[in-house]
Each structure stands twice: as structure tokens, then as C-alpha cells.
């Protein structure tokens, strides 16, 4: 295989694996802040137990997130040298800010959070929890800003030509608030909140099904359900706003998301379908003119199709973009239905009566994870063939001096080490869940 493909596979593999963890940390972080805040406010020991329990899970998630994140930071240089030189001037300040403001905050307070229970006062501990949570939110900001700049570059000019060309900052704030960054930061945060909230929902639904830790599980479930309901609903808003931005700034990506080929005609909105890229045909169920309506509030309005772009300037994997995008949408809609229904039962006072609902919640933990992954796949594959939209092609961005054998070597290493890491993560997660928030043998009755 050639170097470009291998470099892309390696990057996709390492970033997708990495992206399991930080959203979980951000999401669990939010829930922990709420739980510990309630503990400080009410003094109810149940909330302290819950905080301590989720902190243990947070610690592993965060740890693996950091370990796999460091690799990302250096992989730009090892595998994408040309790209690194091209964007260094732009990403530089975002990365420096991430390290100092976000990562410095979360990593130093993490020590206090995990090991400081017996050394600092509850208030200071709570402040540390908030610090770590805010740090992880800031981290997401800078990383998404950098990625958004690749999607919709702004506040820069290009200096030099050929291999020595690069982008330089002309307007810092225009670069930070480039056309897509705000929408995408909010959308990413919300995806992260859902990942965390659904893990909490899943674990406590499991306990409720098994008849263990019922009282505290109900408390935790309700906290996470409030978060999950609000966020899945508002996710629709940020998602729509994001797609509007894509329509304006990256029309080729939008066309690929819905498999719309004709240069300029009303576009359908597919519920599901299959794209035949050869014959430029989509088979599936659609709302005629639906996409036109979403973008222009008019079923007849024309949408720029893929054929408006030369073949070498538009995404090649149209069906992949289409499918990933539609999986994300389907999951999003399902989560809205699920959380609204559960909230309705809560209002009726029957939330925990239906065992099948607890079953669904137990397994639904995987859904936000899938949605987060395929959402990014859509964003990144939809950006192709560009690594910096409209300026630098992916095929020009990789390290020219690195051979395919070297990447093969590192890819195998990654595969082995990451598999081990995943097994360890699932094993210890499972063990912590089985063990539970407190020792039932010592407290045979619910202690609250």
C-alpha cells in the first residue's frame, strides 16, 4: 500500500480510538460536578458515594484519553510533516493555549481530585472537580477550533509556494472564530455530554434491573436523564446550525451527505438510502425537496450538487459520507425519543417500573459513542480531498520522507498496544461496575 493511504489509516485508527475517551471524560465530568455540587449543597451521603464511584471510572477514562492524546500531538509531525509546516503558524497558538490553559488545569487538578479526598476540604475538592471539568471543556475548544480552521479557514494568508507554502495568521480572533468553530464546538460538547450521561444511565439502569444500589441508582439515573434529555433535544439545534454552515461553506460536503449530484436543483432529504457513486443514483426513502427546505425553508430552492465541482475537488467516498451522516442522525433522533419517553414516565411517576426500558438504557451507552465517531467520519471524509479545505490536498500533506514500511511498523505497534488498552479498559470498567459504589457485604441494607 502507498504511504498516503497507510498514513491516513493510521491517523484514522489512532484518532478514532482516542475519541472514545475524551468525550466520556467530559460527559462524566459534567455529571460528577452535578453530583458533588448536590453533595455540598444537601450534605446527603448518597451523592458523595456516587461522586466517588464515578470518579474511579473517570480516572481510567481520563488516563487512557491522555495517553492516546499525546500520540495525536506528535503524529502530526511524524506522519504529516508537510501539513504540519503548512498549518504550524495557525495551529500553534491554539495548541499552546490548549496546553497551558486547558491541559495544565485538568492534569494538575486531576491529582487532587483522585488522591486528595483525605487531604483537602470538600469545598476545595469540589473546586478541583470543576477545574478538571472546565479544563476538559477548554481542551475540546482548542482542538475543535484547529479542526474547524481546516474545514473553514479564516484570518490567514498564504505565504510562499509549492512545498514551502504555508498559512500565516493575519487575524487571531477571526482564526479562532472561523465560520464553523462555534457550531462545531457546541455540537462536540453536546456529543460528549451525551456519551457521559448515557454511560451513567446505562450503569445505573443495570443496577436497577439487578436490584442493587437501588436508591442511589435512582438518584444518579435522574440526574443523567435530565442532562440526556436537554442535550439530545438541543443537539438538534446545534446540528442544524452546523449543517447550515456546511451548506454555506463546504457545499461539496453537504452534497455528499445527501448524495446530491445535480449541479443546481432542489435536493431531497433521505431517511435512509444507498448511494451508487458510479451512476450517481441514490436508492432509498426520502422527503422530496427536504434538504432544500432545511437549508432555504423552500422545497423548490436549488442546492449545489457534487457535479458542480471538478471530480478532483470533491469527496470520492460519497456513500460512506452519506451512511455515516445518516447513522448519526438516526441515533440522534432515537435518543430524543428515548429520553423524552423516559422523562414522560418520570412525570407520571412510573420511570423505574418498566424493566424493558431499563434494558434499553443499559445498552444505549453504545449509541452516543457510535454517533460521535460517525459524526467525525462525516466531517473528515466529507472534507476530502482537502486536508485544509480549498488549499492543501491530503495527498500533499503527508511526510514525504517516511516510508510505507515505517508506517506499517508503527501501525502494527498501535494495533497491538491499543487492543491491549481496550481490553484493559473494558475489563476494569466491568470490574468497577460489578464491584459497585460501595461494599454491599458491609452495608447489607441501603445505607441511605
Amino acid at each position: 500500500m502507498d504511504t498516503e493511504i497507510l498514513a491516513r489509516i493510521q491517523f484514522a485508527f489512532t484518532i478514532a480510538f482516542h475519541y472514545i475517551y475524551p468525550p466520556l471524560s467530559i460527559g462524566i465530568g459534567l455529571i460528577m460536578v452535578i453530583m458533588e455540587g448536590l453533595y455540598l449543597k444537601t450534605g446527603n451521603k448518597a451523592y458523595e458515594i456516587l461522586t466517588r464511584f464515578w470518579l474511579k471510572i473517570f480516572a481510567i477514562t481520563f488516563g487512557i484519553g491522555v495517553a492516546t492524546g499525546i500520540i495525536m500531538e506528535f503524529e502530526f509531525g511524524t506522519n504529516w510533516a508537510v501539513y504540519s509546516k503548512y498549518v504550524g503558524d495557525i495551529f500553534g497558538s491554539a495548541l499552546a493555549a490548549e496546553g497551558l490553559f486547558a491541559f495544565g488545569l485538568e492534569s494538575t487538578f486531576l491529582g487532587i481530585l483522585i488522591f486528595g479526598w483525605n487531604r483537602v476540604s470538600p469545598k476545595v475538592h469540589f473546586i478541583s472537580t470543576v477545574g478538571v471539568f472546565l479544563g476538559s471543556m477548554f481542551s475540546a475548544v482548542w482542538i475543535v477550533v484547529a479542526n474547524s480552521w481546516q474545514q473553514t479557514p479564516a484570518g490567514y494568508h498564504i505565504v510562499g509556494e509549492g512545498l514551502s507554502a504555508r498559512a500565516e495568521v493575519t487575524d487571531f480572533w477571526a482564526m479562532i472564530f472561523n465560520p464553523s468553530s462555534v457550531d462545531r464546538i457546541i455540537h462536540t460538547w453536546q456529543g460528549a455530554f451525551l456519551a457521559g450521561a448515557f454511560l451513567v444511565l446505562s450503569v445505573h439502569a443495570y443496577y436497577i434491573r439487578k436490584g442493587r444500589y437501588i436508591e442511589i441508582s435512582k438518584k444518579a439515573f435522574k440526574i443523567a436523564l435530565v442532562v440526556a434529555t436537554i442535550i439530545s433535544l438541543t443537539q438538534l439545534v446545534s446540528g442544524h446550525s452546523s449543517a447550515d454552515g456546511v451548506a454555506k461553506n463546504q457545499p461539496a460536503k453537504l452534497a455528499a451527505m445527501e448524495g446530491h449530484y445535480e449541479k443546481s436543483s432542489p435536493a431531497d432529504l433521505y431517511l435512509f438510502g444507498w448511494v451508487d457513486n458510479e451512476n450517481q443514483k441514490v436508492t432509498g426513502l426520502s422527503v422530496p425537496g427536504g434538504l432544500s427546505f432545511l437549508v432555504h425553508q423552500d422545497f423548490e430552492a436549488p442546492i449545489t450538487g457534487l457535479n458542480a465541482f471538478p471530480k478532483e475537488d470533491r469527496p470520492g467516498q460519497v456513500n460512506a459520507v452519506f451512511q455515516f451522516y445518516h447513522i448519526m442522525i438516526a441515533i440522534g433522533l432515537f435518543l430524543i425519543a428515548l429520553t423524552l419517553y423516559a422523562s414522560f414516565l418520570w412525570w407520571k411517576g412510573k420511570l423505574f417500573d418498566k424493566k424493558w426500558l431499563m434494558w434499553i438504557f443499559s445498552f444505549s451507552v453504545i449509541l452516543p459513542q457510535i454517533a460521535n465517531q460517525v459524526g467525525w467520519f462525516t466531517a473528515e471524509i466529507g472534507r476530502q480531498p482537502w486536508i485544509v479545505y480549498g488549499h492543501l490536498r491530503t495527498s500533499q500533506g503527508f511526510s514525504q520522507e517516511v516510508s510505507s514500511n515505517q508506517i506499517m511498523f508503527s501501525l502494527v505497534l498501535f494495533a497491538v498496544v491499543y487492543s491491549l488498552l481496550l481490553v484493559l479498559f473494558l475489563y476494569s470498567l466491568n470490574k468497577k461496575i460489578k464491584h459497585g459504589p460501595y461494599d454491599e457485604a458491609e452495608n447489607p441494607l441501603e445505607i441511605i
Binding site: A96, G104, S107, F109, V417
Partner: protein, 345 residues
């Protein structure tokens, strides 16, 4: 070119990167160094205490690597890209070892089984030792220069050329320096028989350091061309090797007096002075080209734009007091001997 206090921006950023790398070497120096003694500690409890000595702080210490790497990418993208792609294999190994090391810290004490703990002990020991060694190897390669052609293209060997004799020497020197640093740190964190054991190990570590340091220094002076050029031009900077030498000599003296906190400070200073020495002798070159000096990566041809450097210097000015505050709070909270409790690893 814009300046601040009479110093141009690339030079200022060079100082920032140097400061971050020194911080990384000092802090992770004792983390990795403590880990490189792991198998020399015999009992399971001793090993657990040693891991918990760095338990609450290693994540924070690692921030210096992340910020240092980010600062290099940000300020000198050409250097970042050229060095990492040329040193592909050692950096990939380094990264993988970092992951394994994190896993070992988190998972080692999670199970009681003997085989489980023994396996993680070996992984932990090996990863710490090799990380320290590889950092030195990369530094050794940078000092010798790379085969860089026009347009910063790397033309050297790709698989094992990084393992040359000089690089290996610098690798061992780095390892020995970290091990000395790590043992002193562990002495501040332990008591009783474990403390006695580490006192014994520290002596071996210092001997290891002095031997490898002397050989590497001699070799550098004799075989690496141009290392004294900058000193001939600005003789005032001869203070650096003198300070480095004094700091090195002061460590055994303080150790024999059992003043370990001061010993840790002076072994940290040793690292800082040695890095300053390296930085000064290279300046303004970042990565010498062995093909022709005009292809060398320098702080000027590798730097980001003035505008970008200005923004980043502002970020550093705002951010570093915050970071310093976090660190002081963290280290104050966990000052003193290790006490194992239910939150420990």
C-alpha cells in the same frame, strides 16, 4: 524583526521551548528515573509505594511534555516536522512506551495475582528505562546533526541509523541522570527499609552517572565539530559549563550529608545547566545539517510568523503564572512521605 527587551521573537521562543524542555526533564526526570529503579526494589509493597510516590503528580508533570511539544510545533513548525518525521522510529517507540507506562501505573495494583503484578512491573521498568534512554538518543542525534538536504528534506537512513554510538552514549547519560534524580526523589518520599535500600541504590546511580557523563563529555569535545565555537565568540558563557560542573559536584556532597531536598534541587539544576549548554552551543541552529550548514534548520528559518510568535508569547505570559500556581498547590498538597490509602494506585 520585532523584539521584546531587545531580544527577537524567535530567540524568545527558543528560550520558552528550552524552559519547557528543562521543566519536562526535571519533573519527568524523577518520574522516569524512579521507574527505572523499579525492578531493583524487591518487595511488592516497596514497588507499590514507589509508584504512589509519583501517583498524584505524574499526570501533571507530563503536561510539560505536551506543552513543550506544542510549543515546538507552534513556534518552530519546520523543526517539529523535520525532526519527528526523520526520527520516526524512535518517536513511535517513545510514544508507545508512554502509553504502556501509563497503563502500568493505572493497572498494576488493580489485581492481586502475582503474575499480573510481575508482568506490569517488568513493563513499567522497561518503559521508564527505555523512555529515558530514547530521549537521550534523540538528543544525541540532534547534536550530531541530520542528513538534511535543500528544503529541509531528510535524506538519511530510516530504520536504525538513529542508534549510532554517540547517540547511545547520550542515551545512557540521560538514563543515569534521570536515575540519580529519581532515587533522590524516592528518598524524599519513603521511610524505613525501603529508604535504606534506595540510599544504597542512589550511590550506584551516581557512579553510573559520573562515568557515563565523563565519557560523553570527552567524546563530545573531541569528535563533535564546532561545539566550542559559540563559547569562543562569547566567552562570558563559559559560566555555563562551570555552573554545570559545580552542580554535578554538589549532588554527591549533599547526598552524603543526607540533605535530599537540596540534592534534588541541584540535580535538577544539573539538568537545566546541561540543557542550557546544549542550547547555547547550538544557537541559533536547531538541527544542524550534516550535508551542508546552509541546509540546517535554525530558529529563523523554522520559526512561525512574527505575528503568531507575538500571540503565543502573550499566551505564555498569561498562562505560565496560572500553571505555576496550580503546580505549587498540587505539590504542597502531596508534600511528604507516601501514605497508602483507599485512593492509592
Amino acid at each position: 524583526m520585532e523584539t521584546f527587551l531587545g531580544i527577537d521573537y524567535p530567540t524568545l521562543w527558543y528560550l520558552v521551548v528550552g524552559l519547557l524542555f528543562s521543566g519536562y526533564a526535571i519533573l519527568e526526570g524523577f518520574d522516569y528515573g524512579a521507574g527505572a529503579w523499579h525492578l531493583f526494589l524487591r518487595k511488592d509493597l516497596s514497588r507499590r509505594i514507589a509508584i504512589n510516590a509519583i501517583g498524584p503528580i505524574w499526570d501533571a508533570n507530563q503536561v510539560w511534555l505536551i506543552i513543550g511539544g506544542g510549543a515546538l510545533f507552534a513556534g518552530f513548525p519546520v523543526m517539529y516536522a523535520t525532526m519527528l518525521s526523520a526520527m520516526y522510529i524512535p518517536f513511535m517507540l517513545f510514544l508507545m512506551l508512554l502509553v504502556l507506562r501509563s497503563a502500568a501505573i493505572k493497572f498494576r495494583s488493580a489485581e492481586e495475582m502475582l503474575w499480573w503484578r510481575k508482568t506490569w512491573d517488568i513493563i513499567y521498568f522497561a518503559s521508564n528505562t527505555l523512555i529515558a534512554f530514547l530521549l537521550g538518543v534523540v538528543l544525541g542525534n540532534v547534536l550530531q546533526g541530520f542528513d538534511i538536504g535543500p528544503g529541509f528534506t531528510y535524506e538519511g537512513g530510516i530504520f536504525f541509523s538513529f542508534l549510532n554510538p554517540y547517540a547511545i552514549m547520550v542515551g545512557f547519560t540521560t538514563l543515569s541522570l534521570f536515575m540519580t534524580q529519581g532515587a533522590i526523589f524516592l528518598l524524599l518520599k519513603t521511610e524505613g527499609r525501603l529508604y535504606a535500600r534506595i540510599t544504597f541504590l542512589l550511590k550506584k546511580g551516581m557512579i553510573f552517572f559520573i562515568i557515563s557523563f565523563s565519557i560523553t563529555s570527552l567524546y563530545t569535545l573531541i569528535f563533535i565539530p564546532g561545539v566550542t565555537d559559540n563559547f569562543k565568540e562569547t566567552p562570558e558563557f563559559f559560566i555555563l559549563p562551570i555552573l554545570a560542573f559545580l552542580a554535578v559536584a554538589n549532588v554527591p556532597r549533599l547526598v552524603s550529608k543526607k540533605k535530599y531536598l537540596y540534592a534534588l534541587i541541584f540535580s535538577s539544576l544539573t539538568m537545566a545547566f546541561l540543557l542550557m549548554l546544549v542550547a547555547f552551543q547550538l544557537y541559533p541552529v536547531l538541527l544542524p545539517s550534516t550535508i551542508h550548514p546552509e541546509h540546517s534548520v535554525t530558529i529563523y528559518n523554522a520559526a512561525s510568523s512574527q505575528k503568531s510568535l507575538g500571540i503565543m508569547l502573550t499566551i505564555v505570559l498569561i498562562g505560565s503564572p496560572l500553571l505555576a500556581g496550580y503546580f505549587i498547590f498540587l505539590y504542597k498538597t502531596f508534600y511528604g512521605k507516601v501514605k497508602l490509602d483507599d485512593t492509592s494506585y
